[in-house]
């Protein structure tokens, strides 16, 4: 009888993550097509429409990149936290908290200089995101409380808090059908570069570069990797692993909060339950699929932004926008499966030996 054993390949292809992403994407699109066929739609028609409406013109490309901005920012945050081998499932709540903190600053303080006030507002969004992850982070480093569950449960708390705010203290009396806070003033809107593309995307590029530097080139990033790798190594190297993990979590949460702030100032212009449409969850897929690489997060985030825009517009055809989520999730599953064949070799061994 033959048995199969698997072992890690000694040499792995550097581009394997990229190849497995491509394979995963084709799996995702195939599954998406099957679902469309089952629902009585023509997949080619739907996908070409999605393509046209997401990247077919300057206007649609800029919409896609705007949509990508929160995905990339939150994904970068997740990747920083993952350098210490921890997970942040709470990006969704942190995005909302960023928006809430921003709006709180906006109504509390009046700053006449609009440029300065935009910067301060975005800073408060960042801090809002950090505050949102403060308790899970402290509980993790001090007592070892599972951060996956605590960050996730915070999503429900923050979204519940958002519902409370927009129905109660912050309710805009003019918004009758859809409970939402009052709009922020036009003077703090993030301006556009061209088409509909907001300056938020510039922030996104800067953050990608910053996170790349922080993770790959800086001493801090090195310390994070050591802290996440082995507790003993960290002690020998004189690194306070818990402190590094704590800081990484605050930065990661802050980036998700910043995503919420940028989204508010460039897209929704007010706090409502529509501030994030599952960006925090999609960001997890984006970060995981790229193996937590900042540049990869930027590229895949942009693509998924386009996919989300495409998913939104095909709703007019009677196709559920959940199809975009399904494609994204199955893409990651496909990538995970193909990643196996890049990192492992299968050996056939005889049992009789």
């Amino acid at each position: 009888m033959n048995k199969y054993l698997i072992s890690k390949k000694i040499v792995t292809n550097d581009l394997s993550t990229f190849y497995s992403f491509l394979i995963g994407l084709s799996v995702g699109i195939t599954i998406g097509s099957i679902i469309l066929l089952v629902q009585g739609q023509n997949p080619i028609e739907v996908f070409s429409l999605m393509l046209r409406l997401s990247v077919g013109s300057i206007k649609s490309i800029s919409s896609s990149l705007n949509k990508a901005t929160p995905l990339i920012l939150a994904g970068l945050g997740i990747s920083i936290i993952n350098s210490v081998k921890l997970w942040n499932i709470g990006a969704e709540g942190q995005i909302f908290m960023g928006g809430i903190a921003l709006n709180f600053m906006y109504i509390s303080y009046e700053i006449s200089n609009s440029k300065l006030s935009i910067i301060l507002l975005l800073l408060s969004a960042f801090i809002g995101g950090s505050i949102c992850i403060l308790l899970p982070a402290a509980a993790k480093v001090l007592f070892g409380v599972n951060e996956i569950i605590t960050t996730l449960l915070f999503n429900y708390i923050i979204i519940g808090f958002t519902v409370y705010l927009v129905n109660g203290p912050w309710k805009d009396p003019n918004s009758l059908n859809f409970p939402a806070a009052t709009y922020v003033g036009k003077e703090v809107y993030l301006p556009t570069i061209f088409g509909r593309l907001s300056y938020g995307f510039i922030i996104c590029i800067l953050c990608t570069a910053g996170v790349y530097y922080l993770k790959e080139k800086s001493v801090f990033g090195y310390e994070l990797r050591i802290s996440g790798g082995s507790a003993l190594t960290a002690i020998y190297a004189g690194i306070n692993a818990k402190q590094k993990a704590f800081i990484a979590m605050l930065i990661g949460g802050g980036l998700a909060g910043l995503a919420g702030g940028v989204e508010l100032l460039s897209q929704t212009h007010r706090v409502s339950t529509g501030l994030s449409q599952g960006f925090g969850y999609t960001a997890i897929i984006v970060a995981a699929i790229t193996g937590m690489r900042p540049l990869g997060i930027f590229l895949v985030g942009s693509l998924f932004g386009a996919l989300t825009i495409g998913g939104t517009v095909i709703q007019t055809m009677g196709v559920s926008s959940y199809i975009a989520d399904v494609i994204q999730a199955t893409t990651l599953f496909g990538a995970l499966i193909s990643q196996f064949f890049f990192t492992y070799k299968i050996m056939k061994v005889s049992e009789d030996v």
Partner: protein
């Protein structure tokens, strides 16, 4: 009057606890084998929608429960394949199982939103307003008694049968289990699918009795609370049941607070079960120190040649 209110609270507690407990028990079995499946939320959702669809189309209750369980088990086999056979990261795979489960069930159930159920899982004995504990206990839903049976059975199987001992051996030290001649992959694969089936049952209970209708994202974080429950219960069925009753009590109590005369915002009240879950989790972890009772090998893929 007060008695009826109190019994109503107890009734609601048990109903909420049933769902949480079944899902948590399934996850407990999976985790005992050393596989962490964070996809509980997604699996419940898949079980819930497929059971609901079958019930609406056929009106056959037994078939809907069966299909609900089976489809969630099948869905969880995706996680089993990726993590057990292909040794990929369990956290990533489980998270995506949740996202995929929620979106897939929303797609599948799109035409079923707002549909009326022709059948519903019945109670053992129908009592409109139970007035004492005995009446509450005998007027529960069939699934409640099934959950109690599963609790006793799981505890027995884990402690007293070969399968249970093997499961534990694999979860505690897969290499030792392997050299003893146990098939680690097979055990973990089965445990993952059984866990999925339990989540499916929880899902069917959700749509065919507890709520009962279908809408997107109706699991509303219960799968995650179930995951917290496994930690709370220290990977022991009976303790997990106590936890489930406690969490079920929170879920039942919160919407009643206002009728008891507390002046609270209904929106803020809704978030308290999640907040209390976090607090309990933190307090419990501090109290137990490092000794949580988690299987030794949880989350670590098993490689045969790593000897």
């Amino acid at each position: 009057m007060f008695d009826i209110q109190l019994m109503g609270l107890l009734n609601a507690t048990l109903q909420a606890a049933t769902l949480l407990f079944i899902a948590a028990l399934g996850e407990l079995i999976t985790e005992k084998s050393g596989i962490l499946n964070l996809g509980v939320e997604g699996m419940i959702s898949v079980g819930a929608v497929s059971g609901f669809m079958v019930a609406v189309n056929t009106g056959n209750l037994f078939l809907s429960v069966l299909i609900g369980i089976f489809s969630a088990a099948l869905f969880s086999s995706l996680h089993a394949f990726v993590t057990v056979i292909l040794k990929q990261d369990q956290t990533v795979s489980g998270l995506i199982l949740t996202i995929l489960g929620l979106s897939l069930s929303a797609l599948m159930g799109k035409k079923y939103v707002g549909k009326k159920l022709p059948v519903k899982i019945e109670s053992l004995i129908d009592i409109d307003e139970p007035s004492n504990i005995y009446e509450v206990l005998i007027s529960q839903n069939y699934i409640f008694y099934l959950a109690i049976f599963l609790m006793v059975a799981t505890s027995f199987i884990l402690k007293k049968t070969m399968f249970g001992r093997r499961l534990e051996a694999v979860g505690e030290d897969s290499r030792a289990a392997d050299s003893m001649g146990l098939n680690v992959n097979k055990t973990q694969f089965i445990a993952t699918c059984v866990g999925g089936g339990f989540s499916g049952l929880a899902g069917v209970y959700l749509t065919l009795s507890y709520v009962p209708y279908w809408t997107d994202n109706m699991t509303s974080g219960r799968g995650w609370i179930a995951l917290a429950l496994v930690i709370f219960g220290g990977w022991k069925p009976y303790r997990t049941a106590i936890g489930a009753v406690l969490f079920g009590f929170l879920e039942a109590l919160v919407p009643r607070l206002q009728t008891y005369g507390f002046e609270l915002s209904p929106y803020l009240v809704k978030i308290t079960p999640y907040a209390i879950t976090i607090i309990i989790l933190v307090v419990l972890t501090i109290y137990k120190g490092g000794r949580t009772g988690a299987p030794n090998n949880i989350g670590i893929p098993f490689f045969r040649e790593n000897r």
